[in-house]
């Protein structure tokens, strides 16, 4: 795996660039950080590792002036800092890429890059300079897009790259990257790592947060592990192993990351013929009961469009869809649900959950739609929700807690509960583990495998190679809106999949 990235060979000096001591920060009801100490040296890449909700994002938000710590100090180059505003941190030389993308979709790429820092000439905006410099900055991350276009017309990955380019170009002393790769494919991740290595070798210190452990081996010099708002360990990357990191992080050994027993292959549950939409060109495939079909593709290849087309979100121009031997072109998600489909969307917060509503309400959302019930049934609701909370060990104070206060992994389990409450014949999961910690990930894999054993048809749409290879019984690779390859589990290798994905 390692060969796809540049080697981690820069030199770390002893000079401490940033030091936080005794940081405490609470939110109503949650102690997000308690007494956290962290230091970073010049040219060092420090990875922050921890389960969902461990406090990583909160820590970097304190470091970058978004939150104010209740107790504790942050010092840069020995000088105590008192950030009132995010811009104070920026001015002090801290550059941040946040977990949630921060762009303004209605304005140009260039203006997004220069947001807060627009070049001026005679007091007016200097568009010429802005566009010229934008082009240079974009080329840093291998983007050749026109900086005048609206960023809203760019893909998620492009947006992520633009954000990275923007922060990288600011000549920051400390760079903080919170899960920058969750929307990137391997090639783009390669670009990013080159940039990180280059910056580090120029003496920039970098905090790097990711749930993808293999990445850490590529970039990090040191890993700081967090659990429940505390730093629970520091590991030099040279001595680290996968298992060590995981056990530090989840507080126990994780025996098998990808538990895969598999089911008995059964009937064809889903058959797709010549499916054509705005972004798909005549795609045909089938998926069987008791099997996991993995769908992979690079950015813009249309792999995600398969999910949305099957689930009645996109307009189908042509083609046939057979679910359990019934022909149907779903026009709305409800059609798809009624036909026996369930779908876990890629964006948990915007597409999956009604954040201000409770666990119970979210779990039961699909049930009421499918069962055509008109009156709420409180008793049934409690019963069913409790069942799923127990089954998936969803960590929530009560079933009436609003899902916004749950961690990412638990939120994902709520969506899964909602889907499984529908008792679907075919379950489609789009990026089922995006932004989820390894512990939760493993649990979700276990659930998927169990469904498979129960004879269900599961389809996972993913851009995570390890997940794809480990979990899928069959793999379909997409390129340019078309099926470019179809592999069985035993013939699939990373090389082959990538080759198909880039259209080879």
């Amino acid at each position: 795996m390692a060969e796809k990235y540049m080697k981690n060979d820069h030199i770390v000096s002893d000079e401490i660039v940033m030091e936080a001591k005794g940081i405490c920060k609470s939110f109503p009801g949650v102690k997000a950080l308690s007494d956290v100490d962290i230091t970073i040296h010049k040219g060092e890449v420090v990875a922050l590792l921890g389960e969902n909700g461990a406090g990583k994002s909160t820590l970097i938000k304190v470091l970058s002036g978004i939150y104010k710590q209740e107790i504790g100090t942050v010092a840069m180059e020995g000088k105590e800092m008192n950030f009132e505003l995010p811009s104070d941190a920026t001015n002090a030389g801290i550059g941040v890429i946040h977990q949630e993308l921060n762009y303004v979709s209605t304005i140009s790429v260039a203006e997004n890059i220069f947001m807060g820092n627009i070049p001026k000439k005679y007091g007016l905006v200097d568009y010429k300079t802005m566009y010229r410099q934008s082009k240079e900055i974009l080329s840093l991350v291998g983007l050749t897009i026109d900086p005048k276009i609206n960023i809203g017309d760019c893909s998620v990955a492009q947006k992520q790259l633009i954000e990275i380019a923007k922060v990288m170009s600011n000549n920051a002393k400390v760079l903080i990257l919170d899960e920058p790769t969750s929307a990137l494919n391997d090639i783009e991740v390669g670009y990013l790592f080159q940039l990180i290595h280059k910056a580090a070798s120029e003496g920039v210190s970098i905090f790097y947060i990711s749930h993808k452990l293999d990445e850490l081996f590529e970039v990090a010099d040191r890993v700081v592990v967090m659990r429940d708002g505390c730093v629970t360990g520091q590991i030099d990357m040279k001595e680290a192993t996968n298992d060590l990191l995981i056990s530090k992080m989840v507080g126990r050994e994780l025996d098998d990351m990808y538990p895969k027993i598999g089911g008995v292959v059964g009937e064809v549950a889903l058959q797709v013929e010549n499916l054509t939409t705005d972004s798909l060109k005549s795609v045909s495939f089938e998926a069987r009961n008791g099997e996991i079909l993995g769908i992979y593709g690079l950015m813009g290849s249309g792999h995600q469009a398969i999910g949305s087309a099957l689930y009645g979100q996109d307009i189908v121009h042509e083609g046939k869809i057979r679910i359990n031997n019934k022909n149907l072109i779903p026009k709305t998600p409800l059609d798809a649900i009624n036909a026996g489909l369930a779908y876990v969307p890629a964006e948990r917060k915007t597409e999956g959950l009604v954040l201000n509503q409770s666990v119970a309400v979210n779990t039961m959302a699909g049930y009421y739609s499918k069962s055509h019930k008109k009156i709420l049934n409180n008793r049934l609701e409690i019963e069913k929700t409790k069942k799923w909370v127990d089954k998936f060990s969803i960590k929530t104070p009560t079933i009436d807690t609003a899902v916004e206060s749950l961690s990412g992994g638990n939120q994902q389990k709520v969506i899964l509960s909602r889907c499984l409450e529908l008792d679907p014949d075919v379950l489609i999961l789009n990026e089922p583990t995006r932004g989820i910690d390894v512990g939760a990930k493993s649990e979700i894999y276990r659930i998927l495998d169990q469904l498979c054993q129960e004879g269900k048809c599961v389809i996972i749409i993913t851009s995570e190679m390890p997940e794809l290879l480990a979990m899928s019984d069959k793999i379909m690779v997409m390129s340019d809106g078309q099926k470019s390859g179809f592999l069985n589990k035993d013939e699939a290798t990373q090389e082959l999949v990538v080759q198909y994905a880039i259209g080879g």
Binding site: L85, T332, P333, V354, G366, Y368, L376
Partner: protein
């Protein structure tokens, strides 16, 4: 439902921020009771109820529309159209039943127009209802060439001012509406869906909720309630008046806001709106008893609204928020 301890109930109240509005209501009652000897009488209580009925009815459905994350700024104009239709039908010699049915149909048609633009053409609700506010108001004038039309059918006007079992008919109607809407919002799948759509439209759609259908139905229901309000208004005043309803937009919206609903959707309760509309109705009544002129009333209503939302915001930590 299981019995709840007082603490739980109060806790729930605090959570849903009824405290501010209940305190405001209590303070208001105390103040007016001290200032006017007439305020705390049964007769005056009935007066308040009579007056509150119109805004009360329409604020029920406006609450649901707001919870769903939409808005309707055209309720005043819808009420005006309904009132005019009621007057025209009644004056054509039809009985109160036909008059009411015609009026309700007029309301539903108005609602359907809003619903069409918002759910079929997917226009912004704010913009749509700004436009229909103007057009419907024009239509209300057009129906009678700008004139008010008196209604003399005593059975019809009974709806406005008659008494049933000791309470005014319109007060009964309002109470029933509140109860029905409370049940809808708390106990039906439809009501639950409204909260979900308001909380996250996209996620609700993907969860299989018929977002457009529910939104459309909400505008129909809102039109229907404008129909009810318009009937009560024209029955109370004994006239269809094209210009009388202009203020109901703001009053209904103010009641909903006072009741704690978020205009951004996903939050709000019918009980809160009930409290909010009571605050406004008592304010109006109390100030009239104290002979406060109408422009002081404007100033005070604005200030009460600001005060209520400010207190909630400060309690919610708005002063510490950075943006």
């Amino acid at each position: 439902m299981a019995k709840k301890s007082l603490k739980e109930v109060v806790g729930k109240m605090t959570h849903t921020s009824f405290t501010t509005v209940i305190c405001a209501l209590v303070l208001e009652i105390l103040f007016f009771a001290l200032m006017s000897p007439h305020f705390l009488s049964w007769k005056n209580f009935l007066n308040i109820g009579l007056y509150a009925a119109i805004v009360g009815c329409v604020s029920c459905s406006v609450t649901l529309v707001n919870i769903s994350g939409n808005i309707d700024l055209s309720v005043g104009s819808q009420i005006a159209v309904v009132g005019m239709v009621a007057a025209v039908v009644s004056r054509a010699g039809y009985g109160w039943e036909i008059t009411c049915i015609a009026a309700l149909i007029a309301g539903v048609v108005c609602g359907a127009v809003n619903g069409f633009f918002i759910t079929v053409l997917k226009l912004n609700a704010f913009i749509t209802t700004i436009a229909t506010m103007q057009s419907l108001s024009g239509i209300a004038y057009l129906i009678s060439q700008g004139q008010s039309l008196p209604i003399s059918n005593p059975e019809f006007t009974f709806i406005g001012r008659g008494y049933l079992v000791g309470l005014p008919t319109s007060l009964w109607i309002m109470l029933i509406c509140y109860i029905i809407f409370h049940i809808i919002s708390k106990w039906t799948v439809f009501g639950r869906s409204i909260y979900m759509i308001g909380g996250n439209t996209q996620a609700s759609f993907l969860a299989g909720i018929k977002v457009n259908k529910i939104r459309f139905e909400l505008y129909l229901i809102n039109g229907l309630m404008c129909g009810v309000a318009g009937i009560i208004l024209s029955a109370q005043t004994g006239a269809g008046m094209p210009n009388a309803a202009a203020t109901y937009n703001m009053t209904a919206l103010s009641a909903v806001i006072l009741g704690g609903a978020a205009l951004t959707g996903g939050k709000g309760t019918i009980f809160g709106t009930f409290l909010g509309s009571m605050i406004l109705a008592m304010l109006n009544n109390g100030m009239t008893l104290l002979s406060v002129g109408s422009y002081w009333q404007y100033i005070i209503i604005g200030l009460v609204l600001l005060a209520a939302v400010s207190i909630d915001a400060i309690k919610g930590g708005s002063l510490r928020r950075k943006i």
